[in-house]
Symmetry: C2
Subunit: 414 residues, 2 copies
């Protein structure tokens, strides 16, 4: 099927889904979950094909691990769909309704976005996760996964569609682009007539490609060059605890801490303790000159380090003379994701919250909490680092828009 | 000044404006309004230069009328700034604040977008209007107006900046691109590091250019191919009244009616009456075959007519056999702006509200109400016909985003 046909089908499916009640949608999710479990062997065998091809092509072990499916991972995908079914459906909520002086009743109603395109890498679990969130919010979805996972994705989509069919739901609510041609992906990024929004999920390169080439509106789910600033007079044991957590609790995630900013007043006492803890966790520190003088084992940071999201056992470290300098440094180099201050000072806490420009700004907590589940959304489609539409962790509401519904009785404009 | 320098300045101004209280912002707006009035002669004289150049270049009278400033129009611009000053400032509102089980207090706070780029045509009033709305919401703004209005825009911006200076406000809160080179506009559309959002204001061609070339997120303020559907059993005098209003009260605006959809059951009695009223207003009707048989003076519509926003004394007309057919026709050809049903039938009204995919869907009212002032927003920066971020008339809130502020006391992620 060509992309335009897929677009036409998706539009029709979106209209159908927008009128589907929550009970029917939840039945669809339950049936899709069941079909995933039922098709486990089929999915595992398709995944085996992808993994063997990837190994032959010399893919790194880390990437193969992301590609690999196990019975437990498939069960988790099915469980994820049931969790989404259990969440409240945001569609249909009336956000406001007011009567105007001329008698018009103007209401704002939450409705699905329509057709959502998801472009992602060779992570087959995204196939089921993204489908679940889009479907629950009444959106049709067109998936374009990494070509290294194509057999897995085909098998997963087949199972999900089989489930939908059992639940008597249009199977083109979910469509997968199976064509590995880059030109097809570029065409998807220009399908403004059929696709309402594109969400890229993956590394910085993928996201940049989509942002740069798409004429369809994009929600940028971005990289996280997240900072922790240790203020003058901070509780240093709290600071240590939070830094170790934010840097090492999970390394390859966007809300992990990548850069430390340390007030000079605490540097002398704090840096050696910090180094001892980070060394234990095999974390390399790339620091400015003043810090390197205090801890000779630190590496010297280059300008590039300040702007790097390592996703690795490395952290950059800058000393500053003031809160102002800390805020200026963070606002210059951050990626608008998550930033934290460790402080006992009331005014400094408030200023940091006010003046740092990021999706999530913390006082005395680990940046690792920027996550849909941790924020209480139940699930997330990604973390937006742009300012339009949604910012920060995106739950179901981020997959909806609104429309105005207006009740009149013959009003005309004067 | 080159564009990168402007971007750097705008970023700094945005940071400054984000911390400026509402009293100071209102002082700035009042001073800017005063400076516009004070500089009236200067602006008129600059505008005279633009108008003479435009006349020499053979610009149409309609466009010259948009370009032309008069003392009254300058006074209206100043009055507009004072009206924006009187509106409530949405910035700083806490939209929600919840405590999580781990004790984190997670709040969602409304904050400015940052730097807004506005690309518009030779309408100098937009210069002051757009500045007022962006400034009130704490955003720095970079304006790129039509090159035919460059002398007028320079004079207006000079006055506004003079006002800001009097009020002791950073004058680079407002910057105007004076370079008429198209390459400069293209560069603006790629300035993702400095510009948070672009809002094109103007005709379909301008908007398409921005959507197609911009990597900066765009809010599409679009065209309106607005329909009115007259249902079986509708109050035909109400229908006539609303159609004449929506089509002819103001011709060149995006919420004017461009297409009529008439149930066949009322066509025979309604179309002659409708034609008599529209003929009186010099409106040409381009209709399908069935309608033309009933009113031979109708022109025959082509496929192209169904998708045309005339902005003129022309309306297309299609007869249908059912509500289903009406909804399908409107969803196929509309531009997601404003659609209205005239009906007495409860279920038909509800189905139309639910199933029509548009920013504003009306029952028994003129489409002309889709407007920030009519919706009670006090002002509008445009009408969004896309689904991301804002949909329908955009007031001050549409020029803001949110950030999460999180109060912790040492929480780390398990």
């Amino acid at each position: 099927m060509n992309l335009t046909e897929m677009g036409i089908n998706a539009k029709k499916a979106a209209m159908y889904l927008s009128q589907l009640g929550v009970t029917r949608k939840n039945e669809g999710l339950a049936a899709a979950a069941k079909a995933l479990l039922y098709g486990k062997q089929e999915i595992l065998s398709a995944n085996r094909t992808d993994v063997v091809r990837a190994e032959d092509a010399g893919m790194s072990q880390a990437l193969i691990d992301r590609l690999l499916l196990t019975p437990a991972r498939i069960e988790a995908m099915a469980e994820g769909l049931l969790q989404v079914a259990a969440l409240e459906d945001p569609v249909g909520e009336i956000l406001s309704m007011k009567q105007r002086p001329n008698g018009l009743m103007i209401g704002k109603k939450r409705v699905p976005l329509g057709v959502i395109g998801i472009i992602y890498e060779a992570r087959p679990n995204v196939t089921a996760d993204a489908f679940g969130l889009c479907f629950k919010t009444g959106n049709a979805v067109i998936l374009k996964g990494g070509s290294n996972a194509i057999y897995s994705n085909k098998a997963i989509v087949k199972c999900l569609q089989r489930g939908m069919q059992k639940a008597d739901i249009r199977t083109d609510s979910l469509q997968l682009i199976t064509d590995a041609n880059r030109e097809t992906t570029r065409q998807l990024m220009k399908m403004n007539s059929y696709v309402d929004v594109l969400i890229p999920r993956g590394g910085a390169g993928l996201i940049r490609t989509v942002v740069e080439n798409s004429t369809v509106p994009v929600i940028e789910t971005g990289t996280g060059n997240c900072h922790i600033y240790v203020d003058e007079g901070a509780d240093l044991s709290m600071a240590l605890n939070i830094i170790v957590n934010a840097k090492t609790q999970r390394i390859g995630v966007c809300n992990a801490c990548e850069s430390l900013v340390i007030h000079q007043a605490v540097a002398e006492s704090f840096l050696p303790v910090l180094w001892s803890a980070l060394k234990d966790k095999q974390v390399e520190v790339r620091a400015d000159e003043r810090a390197c003088r205090l801890v000779p084992e630190f590496q010297r940071a280059s300008e590039e380090d300040w702007e790097t999201e390592y996703l690795d056992y490395i952290v950059s470290l800058k000393t500053v003379d003031s809160l102002d300098e800390a805020i200026a440094h963070i606002n210059r180099y951050n990626t608008g994701h998550s930033e934290s201050i460790i402080t006992k000072d009331y005014e400094h806490a408030q200023r940091f919250l006010n003046e740092i420009d990021a999706a999530a700004v913390y006082v005395n907590a680990s940046t690792r909490f920027t996550d849909g589940n941790e924020f209480g959304f139940g699930a997330e489609i990604g973390i937006s680092t742009q300012k339009l539409h949604a910012r920060g962790p995106m739950g179901l509401e981020a997959l909806t828009t609104t429309k105005y519904i207006i009740y009149g009785n013959g009003q005309i404009r004067q």
